[in-house]
Symmetry: C2
Subunit: 494 residues, 2 copies
């Protein structure tokens, strides 16, 4: 992976892979666009493409299809897919399932490359007739060389092309791919990690996975120059051996984080209703991940947190010795408990280091015996403390708190000034992380909501891993250490 | 406990207990107020008292003491405690440890009731001489009938009297007491739970606990009409048998949630540096809590979350059957996993209930087989669904999502309109909770930061328990069920 999240492959570097064209359509038709505006449901796709600037990036080649309308939101509406200009590379199907057979024939006649079926009501319903219809339509399209995404899914988010399936997704590209059997979870990842500064190369919600499945996208990710980390949510392993082989090959060259839904009885039942998936056991799935060197996230928060860890300076952590700086006495006690419970150490400050610290830190109301709990007034004193601790022989990582000054909680606080302080702290910590050669982790607990997103994003931009609580930080640090152990011997160690 | 968090004892109802006077000083002197304004450190106490309106509530009887100044922030400054008007009931000591012996003699001469020593640098330093000085000063003060809070602590937050020790604490009183050996953790609780709508009767940060200790405040809480839930953070059990007896007596009449710091080796070491405490083992502490029917929170988040549970409709949950409504397919799968992992059930919807639902919920893209994943457009349809599910024989509790409309994530969203929707939803859910007789829990994941606090507070105001993630909700539900089992047989079952 690159040294900082900023260094990314230029958007025009493309993967030499048969699936690549799917992510780069010259023109898109949305069949079944409703007249209503809005950001959800079928109408939301058009809104999202407009918001992401798809028309501007593609000479206006976006074609809403609705036989009852002449115009939708300033764009000419077409009566059928066959009436749209040529070429149309990608079709988004928003029509009901009963209309799909007609659309399939039109797509073949039109010569499109790919169809994404938002349309649901197929195999996931458990209805044998609809399952059969799904198989038939996919076979028909594949025969004609057309690839299918879905049905029952949200499709593609490719910021470099202006493709998106929900509103308010970041417009900038990034280095993280997310391959998801669920649209809601794709939204959670893009928005949740997006608020923490992560940006995406491609996000695919593939639903029932009748044609394209996780293993196809894993295979693509291997050669995608934009993608440096692959994350995935799956409910059922599709393709069996192909899934395993693609995951194995991918994990050899790029870090992969997998979240499996349906690992309990209740979850498996829900997964079956959702995408018709038959979920497997935790043990088997965990064994597969261990074997190939992928990381199995236990929860969605884990997926978020480990993604942050592996794309920031935290990925370089080499040992279990944590130095805690700041936060107040009782907070430091609970933080020490949390770190120890996660299998990390909070080693006592070495005597020589204590002597260095006591030169400028007073005794009353403070502790210099890791956790370091001092009333550090200014940035210079804080930096001096952090630099000294970073050199201590038993310290592998420093965990510290966002420090915005004591007036940050006031209702009349100057938000712009606080944001600037958050930026300044992130940049200072990044310089220290660079200079000291050990990771620095930032805790954002207690940061006012109004500037939380800014604070987390600025930390990430500077390569500093930020977490909302010490427990989540501790889990992420442990995860990186354990994951790296598993990956020893693989050609690429992150 | 009262039916809703709104019903509280009037502020003028007072406990018939010797400690009560400490919480109701007629006048306060701050000795050692620095000239600097600001909200932290020694200067922060004056700021907090002014902000909370202590002077307005007490005829201006607040006396800053600093021999170098004539006036501080518009208030006359006094050269010594002996120069202040009579009476002075409570002294806040902000002077360095070496000045404390003089202050002690002055306090005795002045005839004050209580002193809070923010002053640190005593027994917690490990220095035998300072520990001796601490013992001597407390003995001297106690002899004169003066009670001591601290040293090395933040003191009192009593909103009904305008007493506070950090800025931006809520001005309204509430029904939750927090007894804390740590000032930082007291701040975390007041601000963190405060943002979620909880309000406090009394919060005490007692630090080293040289005189007044947790057991004194537990004993007081028994007869305090303002207090309905007692929460506490302690590092070392002080008073031995007295601690156990007071906790036992308190837990018989009011719910008590305890968070113990220093339960790991690293945490115990930090606790020793912080308050000089010798921490005990998890097993012993856990056994004590079980025996008396108190709840041991494992983390600070647990303390927050169980406090929410026991002061909202969630405290009435009677069984493990959870119905999940909304959130999208993949989210519902992960939520089911989270609930099952926490030992809860997500039972399939009974056939008769399914028939009722299928009368108005379409099949495509939905699931009515708990988790209920439907694209519910309007409030009426949502309410109808919730009402039907609440009547299902296997459902003991409903967990649902904040639903602010699909445009809530847009950067140009009308925040006031969103807030109104959050309020409306909270009030609707409260009516349903009341009508159906089973608790409703609200998940706030994905709510934009700008309205998160409003959304959580409004839910709490309406008696609806709100949690940021399904994992935290699941833990809280499990906790209530387990805790109630422990409390069967106690005179008061919450």
């Amino acid at each position: 992976m690159s040294e900082t999240p900023e260094t990314q492959a230029p958007a025009n570097e493309r993967a030499d892979h048969p699936l690549d064209a799917i992510f780069h359509p010259r023109a898109v038709a949305l069949v079944g666009v409703p007249s209503s505006e809005g950001t959800g449901g079928a109408g939301g796709f058009f809104t999202s493409l407009l918001e992401q600037g798809f028309p501007e990036r593609h000479d206006g080649q976006i074609y809403p299809v609705n036989p009852k309308l002449d115009e939708i939101r300033g764009f000419k509406a077409y009566a059928s897919l066959l009436d749209t200009p040529d070429p149309v590379d990608h079709v988004i199907s928003l029509v009901p399932a009963r209309v799909v057979p007609t659309l399939v024939e039109q797509a073949i006649e039109k010569g499109v490359r790919s169809i994404h079926f938002f349309t649901a009501g197929f195999s996931e319903t458990g209805d044998a007739e609809m399952a059969n219809m799904e198989r038939t339509m996919v076979a028909r399209l594949n025969e004609a060389g057309i690839r299918v995404i879905g049905p029952n899914c949200m499709g593609l988010y490719v910021p470099s092309e202006g493709l998106a399936f929900m509103n308010s997704f970041p417009k900038e590209s990034g280095n993280v791919m997310f391959v998801s059997q669920s649209g809601a979870n794709a939204g959670d990842v893009v928005r949740g990690l997006g608020m923490r500064g992560v940006r995406f190369s491609k996000v695919i919600s593939f639903g029932n996975g009748s044609d394209l499945q996780a293993h196809h996208f894993f295979d693509y990710a291997i050669s995608d120059p934009e993608t440096e980390l692959v994350t995935s949510y799956i409910e059922g392993v599709q393709g069996g051996r192909k899934f395993f082989d693609a995951l194995h090959a991918l994990a050899r060259v790029k870090p992969v984080i997998l979240l499996k839904g349906g690992l309990t009885g209740a979850g498996a039942r829900a997964a079956h209703s959702h995408t018709g998936s038959l979920a497997g056991s935790t043990q088997i799935f965990d064994a597969v991940c261990r074997q190939v060197g992928a990381w199995r996230a236990e929860t969605m928060d884990d997926l978020h947190d480990v993604s942050i860890a592996v794309t920031t300076g935290l990925r370089n952590v080499r040992g279990r010795g944590v130095c805690l700086v700041g936060g107040g006495g009782g907070t430091a006690v609970l933080a020490s408990d949390a770190l120890a419970t996660a299998g990390l150490d909070v080693p006592p400050t070495p005597e020589a280091t204590k002597r260095e610290l006591s030169e400028f830190i007073p005794v009353a109301g403070t502790s210099i015996n890791n956790p370091i709990d001092t009333n550090m007034g200014d940035a210079a004193t804080t930096d001096r403390t952090l630099r000294i601790m970073a050199r201590a022989e038993n310290v592998d990582i420093i965990v510290t708190n966002v420090s915005l000054g004591r007036d940050a909680d006031r209702p009349d606080a100057d938000l712009e000034a606080l944001k600037q302080r958050a930026t300044d702290q992130a940049e200072r910590l990044a310089r220290l992380q660079e200079e000291c050669g050990i990771p620095i982790v930032l805790l954002t607990r207690g940061v006012p909501h109004a500037i939380l997103e800014h604070t987390a994003r600025e930390a990430y931009r500077c390569g500093i891993a930020a977490y909302p609580t010490i427990h989540r930080a501790a889990r992420a640090i442990s995860a990186i250490l354990e994951w790296r152990t598993r990956r020893e011997g693989l050609p690429l160690i992150f």
